[in-house]
Symmetry: C2
Subunit: 253 residues, 2 copies
């Protein structure tokens, strides 16, 4: 059993809390039995599983992936995890490459999204409704433990493409119809969401939205959800969820 | 300028971080200029406004409400606020009584919701789509600063009724048709959401959902949103947002 945070393997895991280290190694850490189970089911490469010595669920899951649990003390587990009072296990996975195919598929575009919880919730919804997820360079790292936790396995059920320029031209060039929710766009009821062309639904930064210079170009369809209650805006993840749902239903009717 | 956290008025504000103190005094604290502006517009009683001496926005807003800013040092402001690096002002408001009218209006029912951010996001959405908000006794205090922050003024644009028993009978007695999103309910497309009867949309605790014993009673209409991506669930606030939107549109068409 590993009992010291200075153990070289443990130190290596702790470094994965930094984005740069995740990029350099192509690995990240996921926490808890649910995410591990989802990762195994999706065929993600499981490298190491760290858990308490009495964690039988972790041992069984690790065995399913052909791995043995590395046992660690409570203190070491707490030092490896990003959550408070972690239950474990902490699992090191290889970040899947994906095929970086932007064209052809309905896409949710995270435009400089700053909050990991918001990003994760949107990945969860996108995966449920059959959208892939694109992210601009200014968006939080989608493979951080916090985003992974909020997405509850969504990362493993859809394609994620990060590092896009904050520009709609590449989306249009890929055949995607860009759409964005704004306060003064076309009423959602009047916008055709059942077209054959795949859409790119832009969701802007929590404080600033999608820049006006982008939203007001002729290439971008603006949409406004009716809000009879006199509100001016919705939470970004809620707004994106409603629009993805409407598109999914329109498409399948 | 107040420079000590031991000042009796400041100590009183800090005690409002506790639910019991909020109940005893009927007051709570809101943070930032946006919430203050929304509260003034909604006619909420503004008791005190605490801000930095150079905060001209706070001074103007306070004047609109017929109040003067009490100037505080940066340290005192930080000690009063629940957010990190607070910008101020911190404003003490009287929690509105509401008319505790459960009948007659489409309602979102927060069923033992534990996360303040989730509760606030759902209040924000409910207010936008014309729903009132009911909450069971087991739900977080809706008037805590964290919930207020996430709701971005939603508290001031709808009615909130807290402390309900975790039971559907009173909802049915009030003429509300109870509905709940579950993994194995009727497809959303098949559920009539345009009826004249007001609905009570139940949203369950993030970990446990609405208890099976409640969801499976004949009085409750179950609804399932289609998820072609193979997911089993959505974030509670996203799911509630989609269902409230569908009800609002169905009702107004």
């Amino acid at each position: 059993m590993i009992t010291s945070l200075r153990n070289p393997r443990i130190a290596g895991v702790r470094r994965l809390q930094r984005r740069r280290e995740r990029r350099a190694t192509g690995r990240t850490a996921i926490e808890g039995p649910l995410l591990l189970s989802e990762a195994i089911e999706a065929g993600i490469t499981i490298n190491d599983v760290y858990a308490r010595s009495d964690d039988e669920v972790a041992a069984e899951l690790a065995a399913t992936a052909g791995r043995e649990v590395t046992k660690v003390s409570d203190d070491v587990l707490a030092g490896m995890a990003s959550s408070v009072n972690p239950r474990g296990p902490v699992t090191i996975i290889t970040i899947p490459g994906g095929d970086r195919q932007v064209a052809g598929i309905d896409s949710l575009v995270l435009w400089d999204i700053a909050d990991p919880g918001n990003a994760g919730t949107m990945i969860r919804t996108a995966a449920a409704f059959g959208f892939q997820v694109l992210a601009t360079k200014g968006t939080v790292d989608l493979w951080s433990p916090k985003v992974l936790r909020a997405a509850v396995g969504g990362h493993f059920r859809t394609t994620l493409v990060e590092g896009l320029p904050a520009d709609v031209a590449p989306l249009a060039a890929a055949g995607l119809t860009a759409m964005v929710a704004t306060a003064d766009g076309a009423p959602a009821n009047d916008v055709r969401l059942d077209g054959d062309h795949p859409v790119a639904l832009l969701v802007g930064n929590e404080a600033h939205g999608v820049p006006d210079a982008i939203a007001s170009t002729g290439n971008v369809q603006t949409i406004t959800l009716p809000m009879p209650g006199g509100s001016e805006s919705l939470n970004a993840a809620v707004s994106a969820g409603i629009l993805m749902y409407l598109r999914m239903v329109g498409r399948s009717d």
